[in-house]
């Protein structure tokens, strides 16, 4: 029983026991697998360790954001997996609470709360990349008031596991760039939805392509007003940049600690060790700055503000620092770096490092490329002219 009055104490006790149970089923090196993340999601839901900041009349605990932050930090320190439905909790739920109708909240929040409905995010499209304003998936209003959806989404994380998708869709064919977009909640089991999993270079399948072919979307599954999609998507992105970035920073700190141990244990000549330790120190310095930045962002979030430009800087710095940590760890493996991620059974530690190195190639691409983050900082903070083509003028 997790009491609201002693929430963090109870949660800490529970975490220790629950993770022992989870680890009996899934090794720590398998924390990223969908089955492990699904099991963990279920355990959190069954113990009421979700929806912490939601209002009580929506099944939440109405805890302050600071407690949510502390809980996420605790989970990350215990090396808990990321729950499978974290996209729904991180992005959709706060967005629904802010923009949803009473009917929409009643329909969708319980499925997220209970872990029965997994969500995916239908933003990216072929050729749009990080430029979400060039979305081409379109929906036309029918005579019965419903929408007819046609288009093609890609890089949809767990699209092949999701029951629902929140998608950015062009509802005004005359709308240019970010105008004329709407935020739609699409049933992945509806006729005309086709999902094709994508295998990524780690050999795993976490993404999918999603095709919409004459999919009927009821009028009450548009969130906010028609044409308001861009504003809602941007607000949703702000939630993601805040609280839910924290576990990644804690993970980075743990990976750095592993790197420090690995370097200490590595057999390297004294002259080379000096160079490697210097390199390590520069990464340690970066990680400290990442921590200072995430703390600042979290203070802003806890105070009810949005992280804004700090979020872009944090994402940029974190992703590139993580790549450095993983590359360093790979180098310290020596010859064992010839192994692939599939060698997890015979060489779990080495295979896990190789997997994380390969995975880390995506960090500077997903959730806004480093190029885009730099543009944001250049334009908004330094006031430099926009790096844009003619269509956005």
């Amino acid at each position: 029983m997790i009491r609201t009055s002693h929430f963090l104490d109870d949660a800490a006790t529970w975490l220790g026991e629950a993770l022992t149970l989870l680890r009996a089923q899934h090794a720590e090196a398998a924390s990223h697998t969908p089955s492990c993340r699904q099991d963990w999601n279920r355990m959190l839901c069954d113990t009421d360790l979700v929806a912490l900041t939601w209002p009580e009349d929506r099944g939440g605990r109405a805890l302050p954001t600071a407690t949510l932050i502390a809980f996420h930090e605790m989970c990350a320190r215990h090396r808990a997996p990321q729950p499978i439905n974290s996209i729904a909790h991180a992005i959709l739920a706060p967005t629904l609470l802010m923009f949803g109708t009473s009917e929409q909240k009643a329909r969708f929040l319980p499925g997220i709360r209970n872990g029965t409905e997994i969500w995916c995010q239908g933003y990216s499209e072929p050729r749009t990349g990080s430029d979400l304003s060039s979305v081409r998936t379109r929906a036309a209003r029918q005579s019965n008031g419903h929408w007819l959806l046609n288009g093609h989404k890609i890089w949809t994380t767990q699209g092949h596991l999701a029951k629902w998708c929140f998608a950015l869709v062009r509802t005004d064919p005359a709308g240019v760039a970010h105008r004329g977009l709407s935020f739609m909640l699409v049933d992945m089991q509806a006729p005309g939805v086709r999902v094709e999993p994508i295998r990524q270079l780690t050999g795993e399948t976490d993404y999918a392509e999603v095709f919409f072919e004459n999919v009927e979307v009821p009028a009450n599954q548009v969130l906010g007003a028609e044409g308001e999609g861009w504003r809602i998507a941007m607000a949703a992105a702000e939630y993601e940049r805040g609280v839910y970035f924290l576990p990644r920073v804690v993970m980075l700190e743990q990976e750095l600690a592993q790197l420090q141990d690995e370097l200490a244990a590595a057999a390297v000549p004294p002259a080379e060790r000096h160079v490697l330790e210097h390199r390590l120190q520069s990464i340690v310095d970066l990680c400290r700055v990442v921590r200072s930045r995430v703390d600042k962002v979290l203070d802003a979030v806890a105070a009810g503000e949005t992280p804004g430009i700090e979020g872009a800087m944090l994402k940029l710095l974190w992703s590139e620092t993580r790549q450095q940590v993983q590359e360093f760890r790979l180098e310290l493996l020596g010859e064992s770096a010839l192994l692939g991620p599939e060698a997890i059974d015979s060489h779990p530690e080495s295979a896990a490092v190789v997997r994380e190195f390969l995975w880390s190639r995506a960090e500077t691409i997903v959730a806004g490329t480093s190029e885009i983050q730099r543009n944001i900082v250049a334009e908004r903070t330094l006031g430099l002219p926009k790096d844009r083509g003619a269509h956005a003028k």
């Binding site: 990080s130 192994l339 692939g340 390969l358 691409i365 730099r374 790096d387 269509h391």
Partner: protein, 321 residues
Amino acid sequence: MTTLLLSTFGRLVGERHPIAQARKALPCDAPAQQALWSELADGGWLDAGCRDFQQENGAHTLLLGEITGRSLMTLPYASTAFLLMPLLEADARLLADGLVSPLRDFPASVRCSSVQQDDGWIEHFGEAAQYLHLLPVEDGAWRLERHAPSTVAVLPGMDPTIGLGRLGQVAVTAGTLTSQVVLPVLQRHFAFELAHLVGAAGASLDMAIAYAKEREQFGRPIGQFQAVKHALVDAWMGLDNARYALRSLLSATADGTLAPDLAGTAHRLAVSAGRRACKLAIQVHGGIGFAWEHDAHLYLKRVYHLAITTQRSLGLLQAAA
């Protein structure tokens, strides 16, 4: 003549061993691999590391290596043509004693390392290949050990285009060679492997450059953005720097000079530029570059694989100096 030579080799490898072939990770006994091996042998390409070929065309070793790298060759061409063939040429007893099987029929995978580098990983090409370990022993002597294919344990490797094996403790048979014979050969083989690395990285970067010209974001080709354009230039120049270093190493090798210092420079430049180019290629391609179906990861994995195996050879060259 030399242009014809290179275009002939380039066409043979490019047509018979496109990247789609590399993806299949076929063992040596697959009919397509056997057919290509026969053509390489019939064309005299297995002699490319030997004296006559090198005297006439040694300057083109770099380009031959780049061609095999661009195609992500999944046959043990480098260790056969640039290591064992010249060793057999220098010491015919290796063949006569049966330590090495005829290379025309049995492509050879060789691990070059010292006992200190004792992990025993070797490239694995199936039961039809022969597996050897070349290592320094004492007082200028080197041992060439032969291992039975059945004793090589197979493991999942990072590079999905070639198998990864682990040599057992016990060799079937062994012979001895002198440093005078081994070291110049080892140095040329090392340079060829680095050329292969540069070729793989170069092919990856070429894909990214082509993509940057056609792929549009914000209404114009992404190559128009300096963030992309300049990064591609830096990566390209890095690879070109490596080529200069490799040419210096190869010309020293042609003179019979052992140059561990030049070998170190070539290794550092080629490995760092190669890794950077392959990582950039994935970044420039964005999501599509992270997909298994795209070739970008195959190049990345080959480059990272070779960075390790060439490190062993570099260690041997430097220790012998």
